[in-house]
């Protein structure tokens, strides 16, 4: 039996509609099970011995007679220094700021040697120590980075996941902006699988290390991520945009769009049309023996002035996220907006 084209049209239309509604074109929903958790439950806290709970904050000897001691991850260290110094000068406080990582900050909080800790990830259960409160400063797009000579400048989040899983192996399997094929080059995914226990960050791409292709090149430091992508024409990695500026001496890289949305445009991240991001939190102590009113004052000041940060840091303030329906508990960002609000 021969069916005319006109009769087949409704079938095609329905098929296309179904595909569209199920995300078949974007590769979005079919890949969502690959995405790790964005946040942890703020009610889950790490149980600690009573001795530890009673232990007061005690600075390291090297901090001397500091009024306040902070341990911040590398990005917050760069971003917040001007505001912290301004606050210190205004209130005549001697504030010591140590540069570190989420792990170092977590270690300093466990050891109770700092008043404020700065994280570039949402807290894990192991970070939620008794007496510790988290305050979200904002979020920042995590950009997919490629070699600047790579003509591919847009991929879907599904394709990104396939690349890092090793299911897409050559750039020629992808298309360029003018509709042509990508270069006939082997794709070399470069990863920095840091903060494995914490939610968000790279886990928004693939939940855990075992989901990544064994052929990935995993690096331990941010400059190595930039240099590895800059050196290899087939490489793809990820980093926040600030680090491409901070480590520009390590090489030139290009941030590509995801699902057609640029990591440089805040509104796409707020609406989650751009799906990868990092969360910046400050943690302070509350309770007898550990609370420092000066720390509380500084955190409030930073939360109020986060909009004044240098635009190069690309940090979208928490206040904008609240307006867009992102979920907060107190000052802590605890969830993405509901789907109907975000897209």
């Amino acid at each position: 039996m021969k069916i005319s084209r006109r009769r087949m049209f409704p079938i095609y239309f329905l098929a296309v509609l179904v595909l569209f509604l199920t995300g078949g074109f974007t590769g979005h929903n079919t890949q969502d099970n690959a995405k790790g958790p964005s946040f942890t439950d703020p009610l889950q806290t790490q149980s600690m011995p009573e001795v530890w709970i009673r232990q007061p904050i005690k600075y390291e000897k090297s901090e001397g007679d500091a009024d306040l001691v902070l341990s911040l991850d590398q990005h917050l260290y760069d971003a917040l220094q001007p505001l912290i110094q301004e606050y210190g000068k205004k209130h005549k406080l001697r504030i010591v700021v140590n540069e570190g990582t989420c792990g170092i900050t977590s270690g300093a909080l466990v050891n109770k040697t700092v008043d404020i800790g700065g994280f570039c990830c949402p807290p894990d259960k192991t970070d939620r120590l008794p007496g510790l409160r988290f305050h979200t400063l904002g979020i920042d797009a995590k950009a997919l980075l490629v070699h600047p000579a790579n003509p591919v400048d847009n991929i879907s989040i599904g394709q990104a996941r396939q690349i890092f899983r090793g299911e897409i192996r050559r750039w020629s399997e992808l298309t360029t902006s003018n509709g042509g094929k990508g270069p006939n080059l082997l794709i070399q995914p470069v990863t920095r699988l840091h903060c494995k226990l914490r939610p968000g960050h790279w886990r928004l791409l693939l939940d855990n290390e075992d989901m990544f292709d064994p052929g990935i090149q995993d690096v331990g430091a941010i400059p190595d991520m930039i240099s590895q992508v800059a050196l290899n024409p087939g490489a793809i990695g990820y980093e926040v945009l600030w680090n491409t500026i901070r480590y520009k001496d390590k090489g030139k890289v290009k941030a590509i769009r995801i699902n057609g949305y640029s990591p440089y445009e805040a509104e796409h991240l707020i609406s989650l049309r751009y799906p990868l991001y990092r969360v910046y939190n400050l943690a302070t102590w509350e309770g007898k023996g550990v609370e420092n009113p000066r720390a509380k004052g500084l955190v409030e000041y930073l939360l109020q002035h986060v909009e004044n940060l240098d635009k190069a840091h690309n940090i979208i303030p928490a206040s904008r996220l609240r307006k867009a329906g992102w979920k907060f508990k107190g000052n802590e960002l605890t969830g993405e907006p509901d789907a109907h609000l975000s897209r």
Binding site: E99, G100, G103, N111, C121, H194, K196, D218, D224
Partner: protein
């Protein structure tokens, strides 16, 4: 002769080839010293820059190797718990039933842990601990002689959680450690045990992480802060623990102070790579020595070539000197001194100067002679002109005198001729009466009838003759008159031409009988001079 002149003479006595060769050698030596300083420094700088860049790459490679090695431990833990002998061993234990009798120690790999050959391929942890579900260490394998650190003997729950599934870097008693753990659960997901691997991040660890090659330089962990110190290094003999970074700056080239950004590590350290400056200096020295040797060969070749060219030029100069001497002697007839030995260029200069002076002198003589001759000729012309002028003056005077002398009698003749004409007219009346009455009669030898027409003609001829004499005398007077006019008045050109012809008439007639002049200007017209 003063000392200066003596020195100069001595200097000129030295041959040019020798002098130029000596100058080029001295210049070469000075250049050598300057270039040696500048180039050696530049080579060192370039070499150091390249080495620093290479060291940067090496540091990055070291870091990547270190990262990979750190992760090997977490994979070793995960691999260990999926081995059959591990699961068999754990499941055969009845730890939950009895009290803790104490920790069982092994100094050889226990049955629940991979064999040494496998560890050799993967990683060699200092300690492997079997922890029961309540967090108590039950069994421990240690390849290190050092006692198990207290936090490992009684690991806090937070440490077990934080090290689960990842390599966690932590400090125990100021010593950096790597800790990783892998939980083992039964088929119902009940936790039975946890395998925890721990190893100190020490010289052995760093050596193994960067590949153990001795010529790769030294990898080290540094404490953070303003005055970093070495926490540990891959070569403690070269860079011992606790060495301040400032002390190492002179002896080592250092790069790559980067964080371990695992995000799971609380170890506040920076990773750095060092290359001994002794090695750098040795390499630089070898390069500079090579460069010096090449420069020396180049200099010798250059000086030899320069000396050869100088010699050839001096030979040409000598030839030119001889030619100048020959020219002076044979063409100009100058007496030349014998050609001396010494600075060929100076000799040529002297010869040429001598020749130039001679030429200048000769030119001056010739010029003077020419001027003298010109003066003499001019004097002669002036004299001739003076004579001529004198002659003309005398002639004028003479002509004036003669004209005066002629004019007087001519005036008598003219006036007398007029008078006689009047007389004749009166006499003629009388004679004619007489003739009419008496007929013809003789007067002198002629008859009155003949005389009566002849006498007026004669008198007319006399009058015309005297007028002509007067005109000639007037013309002569005009010609001889010294006229100092400015020639700014109008002239009757026709008159001038007529006068000239009048004077020259006799001369013209000598040459032609057919001389005619036609004046185109109207008679009496005046033309501006």
């Amino acid at each position: 002769m003063n000392i200066r002149t003596e020195c100069r003479n001595r200097y000129y006595r030295i041959p040019l080839t020798f002098k130029l060769t000596a100058i080029s050698v001295i210049t070469g030596i000075v250049l050598w010293v300057v270039l040696d300083y500048v180039q050696s420094r530049r080579i060192k700088d370039i070499f150091l820059a390249q080495l620093t860049e290479r060291l940067g790459h090496q540091a990055m490679e070291d870091r990547l190797r270190f990262d990979r090695y750190v992760k090997v431990y977490q994979h070793l833990a995960r691999l260990s718990i999926i081995q059959k002998n591990f699961s068999d061993y754990i499941e055969s234990r009845k730890w939950h039933e009895g009290n803790i009798a104490g920790v069982a120690y092994y100094d050889h790999p226990p049955p629940w842990f991979p064999s040494r050959s496998m560890l050799h391929t993967l990683a060699s942890p200092g300690y492997a601990l079997l922890i029961d579900s309540r967090g108590n260490v039950r069994e421990a394998y240690q390849s290190y002689k050092e006692t198990l650190p207290q936090p490992l003997l009684h690991p806090p729950g937070l440490l077990i959680e934080k090290s689960s599934g990842q390599s966690y870097l932590i400090t125990f008693n100021s010593a950096p450690f790597l800790v990783t753990s892998a939980p083992y659960a039964d088929s119902h997901q009940n936790l039975l045990a946890t395998l925890m691997l721990a190893t100190p991040i020490d010289e052995k660890f760093l050596n193994a992480s960067i590949g153990g090659s001795t010529n790769r330089g030294v990898a080290a962990l540094l404490t953070p802060g303003e005055n970093p110190r070495v926490l540990t290094s891959s070569n403690l003999t070269a860079i011992p623990e606790g060495t301040p970074l400032d002390v190492l700056k002179d002896g080592y080239l250092m790069t790559g102070k980067e964080f371990f950004d695992y995000g799971s590590s609380e170890l506040v350290v920076r990773f750095a790579s060092f290359i001994s400056m002794t090695e750098v200096n040795s390499l630089t020295r070898t390069l500079i020595t090579k460069e010096r040797r090449e420069r020396a060969i180049s200099a010798i070749v250059f000086i030899t070539a320069f000396a050869a060219v100088t010699f050839w030029i001096t030979q040409r100069i000598q030839r030119v000197t001889r030619r100048v001497a020959d020219f002076s002697q044979h063409t100009l007839g100058l007496q030349q001194q014998e050609i001396q030995k010494g600075d060929q260029l100076h000799i040529l200069e002297e010869r040429f100067q001598h020749l130039t002076e001679e030429v200048v002198r000769s030119r001056e003589i010739i010029k003077k002679q020419a001027e003298e001759q010109a003066r003499e000729e001019e004097a002669k012309i002036i004299q001739a002109k003076l004579i001529h002028a004198n002659k003309m003056t005398s002639l004028g005077t003479l002509v004036s005198g003669v004209a005066h002398e002629i004019n007087n009698p001519n005036s008598f003749i003219m006036s007398n001729a007029q008078l006689f004409n009047d007389i004749w007219e009166d006499i003629f009346q009388v004679l004619n009466e007489h003739y009419k009455k008496n007929g013809d009669f003789p007067i002198g030898d002629m008859k009155f009838s003949e005389i009566q027409s002849l006498v007026p003609r004669l008198l007319n001829t006399i009058t015309k003759g005297t007028e002509r004499i007067k005109n000639i005398v007037d013309s002569l007077k005009n010609f001889a008159r010294a006229d100092t006019g400015n020639l700014d008045e109008k002239v009757d050109v026709n008159k001038v031409v007529e006068n000239a012809i009048f004077f020259l008439n006799a001369e013209i007639k000598k040459f032609t009988n057919n001389f005619h002049v036609t004046c185109s200007l109207p008679k009496g017209s005046l033309v501006a001079a």
